[in-house]
Symmetry: C2
Amino acid sequence: MRITVLAGGVGGARFALGLREAARRGLAGLADARIDIVANTGDDLWLAGLKVCPDLDSLLYALAGVNDTDRGWGRAGDTERVNAELAAFGVGWPWFTLGDLDIGTHIARTSMLQEGASLTEATARLSARWDLGVTLIPVTDDDVPTFVETTAGDSMHFEEWWVRTRASEPAARFVQRGIEVARPAPAALDAIRGADIVLVAPSNPVVSIGTILGIDGIRAALADASAPVVGVSPIIGDAVVRGMADVCLPAIGVATNAGSVGRHYGSRRDGGLLDGWLVDPVDAGVVDAVEEAGIACRAVPLWMSDPDRSAALAVDAIELARGLRADVAV
Amino acid sequence: MRITVLAGGVGGARFALGLREAARRGLAGLADARIDIVANTGDDLWLAGLKVCPDLDSLLYALAGVNDTDRGWGRAGDTERVNAELAAFGVGWPWFTLGDLDIGTHIARTSMLQEGASLTEATARLSARWDLGVTLIPVTDDDVPTFVETTAGDSMHFEEWWVRTRASEPAARFVQRGIEVARPAPAALDAIRGADIVLVAPSNPVVSIGTILGIDGIRAALADASAPVVGVSPIIGDAVVRGMADVCLPAIGVATNAGSVGRHYGSRRDGGLLDGWLVDPVDAGVVDAVEEAGIACRAVPLWMSDPDRSAALAVDAIELARGLRADVAV
């Protein structure tokens, strides 16, 4: 059994933890499942000469159990001594805090890249420090930094828009620079092509999943894959669970609503992404509209408030996928 | 009055502090002196993708008053959290400790270099954080990493030889890779050409001062300079005051002796470096031999154990220089 998850950062990490937990408990026939996480790299940035990968790091730290669960980003127990030095030297973004332990990751990664490793290889080497139980794969080894064009006519890196301006100017458009020529990481393509089930984590549909799907070759690989594709809504009761999907969705003309996001992804039958879609029971009212769009839709609890619930959600996604394709290996 | 000092790391820093102290106290007509420190870069290295400049950093931290005086290197009160991360990821040299605050410097410098700044410019930007009272100038903007060829036939970076192997294999030869094509930093040449007095700090004659002199154009600039050149022995009583000159001098066939080092530098009269040479009173016995070699030699206390003594030594060096050339501006 091979499960491949398309994921952004924090929501993706929570979902990946649930899936790994289900596998560790041997639920839903997942005991020996191989789990590959194809991660968004659209909010990666070069800062003070260091390659920073917010989503890969969120996934890495959460799966390693070293993430800061209170703050929601970075390493637990981190300090900011290096960051203060950089600020004193006038280097980097004073409003973008890098923890000391986190900087260790960035230096290590940057050093590997400078020695010629691909981001895929660097991610594997960083991951090898821990027994993650899953494989982290960047969707592409190429830089595809997301820039936000605001309705006021400004353009800035996504992290600057989100962290410095707190999205104060509405986004008119998100542009992943270089995405036209970016190629999918070979391991990401392989994970999609070889999957028995593909799951779409409850991540930002615009700047996380949208970026993954925007890499040339990823949509085609998903369309051609034998695996069913089941997604989990990042929206519960017309609000984002975490992150900033609500301020991103307007730029692509999609309402902040579990049904709208499912229909935006679209049915595979019609060339879209999804065979199945999970929404929360509070959104049960959208199930019919999603099913009419050709996507099998179930309402199951989506709040991943503890490992039990996260694992249960993963099992729900697996079981929906199995029900859609009689040929999915158990 | 313009004073230019050729300097390595810790000994150079101690001497530079003394000279600055003398200037701050208005001793020896130094009240308004401009002080330029031309620093060795031969033990610079790229480690984990970061540009590390041990001598420039020793000078910077000492002059900024943030150096660790107990340990003799790095920043006071530093921690090693990032270093532990790098070790856990298998990146860098496990035996070469980088402090967190120190890493802040390396990241800032590397970032500036990557943006196209020269090492001279990066050093100026780092220096601007503090009121150093002197200008730090790398002798060259080009990489000239020192490799040690040992008598056992091994070859390794100087820092590896010194820090990891503790110089356990004697050095047969020191090779500054790339020195044949390295050019002097324009500001270093200007500091030598425009100096009223050039001082040679009590630094390692082989891997610090030797590297500075090995950069094409530096010896010629010194030979042509109107300023007298006065050096301070790094050897007192046939032992190094600090550092590792004793394990470096044998490789160039020079005895660890204040007189031998002075004669190794040689008299300017004969195309060598020095007009004057200061040795410690315990080495007064070498004065005649040095003078016979055409170098004015004085025995004055060289131990820079506190600011008073360091300042006094700087004054001794200045006064010897003034006595050698009637035309030196006061």
